[in-house]
Symmetry: C2
Subunit: 231 residues, 2 copies
DNA sequence: CAAATAGTGTCTTTAAGACACTATGCC
DNA sequence: GGCATAGTGTCTTAAAGACACTATTTG
């Protein structure tokens, strides 16, 4: 029953946050911003904020808008993770936070991030030594787990890559996400089966033999495979 | 950034709804309740309502509480589906609804439902001919799709079954969810591999040879398989 | 030529699909 | 016995893992 007569409820505060991932130097990174106000002032937190009903057609817009403020670009992939709620998560009172997870290519987003000092890419290991606000460390772990799962059965990790990329780069991204080696052969087979990438008529140097460049075909959907990579 | 100083935003109305599934007579059914007030008075809608910050420790509690009001039992399985938001979904204004999907065994829930006339099990085909409130038809389709996906790679459909059940019943549930036949052999292999069910020392008649009864082992987690059933 | 990375060939392994077969209960 | 459902055996098929092999580029 969406909505009732009796809307004179204490309505909880509703916010939207995002866990934006990318892979830099074969390491999985998360975008965090430094809090400028209490509580948790000076701590690092997920980018996000209040849904503005006048400009955000939906919560997706809120997530994109807040991410754009920090990175100056829209992430290549955005999906809802979970909605967290309760009294204990924020000292100011009962809160409800819709969290997204998102993927972007490092090159596009990083130019802008490097110019500001209240936002940075944080590697997963760094999370243990940085002060993280609210329950955001827990949320990031949850998001990482979900991304890992998604990497096992879909092509979504390509959205951590720039428009043109090589199989070797894709392999690095997958290995950063999964935390374990992946066979080149398996990746090639999946690229073949998914049929959502096309070879670009261009090659790039990579330390050895020149590598083919690939890009995502226009207007393709996410493809799920019937079989996972092994855990 | 969960929360800010400036909480003087027009906060959207936040509600929690659930898509409760079960399988009755080899048909997938959804629990709907008849709306008693405007808008969409007399139409059928998903059970749900406002989060009560005084009694709901989290949104999960809201979903469970509202479902218990209608069925008198807690569903065996509950998971977040998606959060829907926007201006167009409710004529009264901008709304944000966290939707869960849930599974229950028909026998436990149905006794109570049959005593009230504002709640009933609706089969998926019936959705086209019943008047459905808000965007709930779309939400149910989304939930059904997700349940289907989940049935391909996990054991969650067992939560549509009573405590003790046979492989034949499990097969019926799977087939109702997937809308296509499934091999008994495949189910048996999965039960074996998942190792979360145990044979009960009891058999039940089923029209032919007596069937073994199974139950879920205590304190087991959801198991995901590395390979899907085929689409 | 050596080192490095790109890309192929192919054998093994795992788990599902298909389907024939046996088993057991009720009429 | 005959029907219906339970349950097994086993061959086929699909796709990942392992890994050796060839190809191409730079130094």
């Amino acid at each position: 029953m969406s909505g009732n007569k009796d809307s004179d409820f204490k309505n909880p505060l509703f916010t939207v946050d995002s866990v934006l991932f990318t892979v830099i130097d074969k390491e999985l990174k998360v975008l965090l911003v430094k809090r400028a106000s209490e509580p948790y002032i000076g701590c690092w937190a997920l980018p996000g904020g209040f849904l503005d009903i006048d400009i955000d057609h939906s919560a997706d817009m809120t997530a994109l808008r807040k991410l754009k403020e920090k990175t100056n670009v829209a992430p290549q992939y955005l999906e809802q993770l979970h909605t967290y709620s309760g009294l204990a998560r924020d000292p100011r009172g009962y809160s409800v936070t819709l969290v997204y997870y998102a993927l972007t290519s490092a090159v596009e987003a990083s130019t802008h991030i490097e110019t500001v000092d209240d936002a940075k890419w944080v590697s997963i290991e760094e999370l243990d030594i940085l002060p993280i606000a609210f329950d955001h460390k827990h949320i990031i772990e949850h998001a990482q787990q979900r991304l890992k799962q998604k990497a096992l059965y879909s092509m979504v990790p390509i959205y951590c890559l720039p428009e043109l990329f090589t199989i070797g780069q894709f392999k690095s991204v997958l290995e950063a996400i999964l935390g374990k080696p992946v066979q080149r052969k398996t990746i090639i087979r999946r690229i073949d089966a998914a049929d959502i990438l096309e070879k670009v008529d261009e090659k790039i140097k990579s330390g050895g033999r020149l590598a083919h460049l690939y890009k995502v075909k226009p207007n393709v959907d996410i493809v799920n495979f019937e079989r996972n990579l092994s855990y």
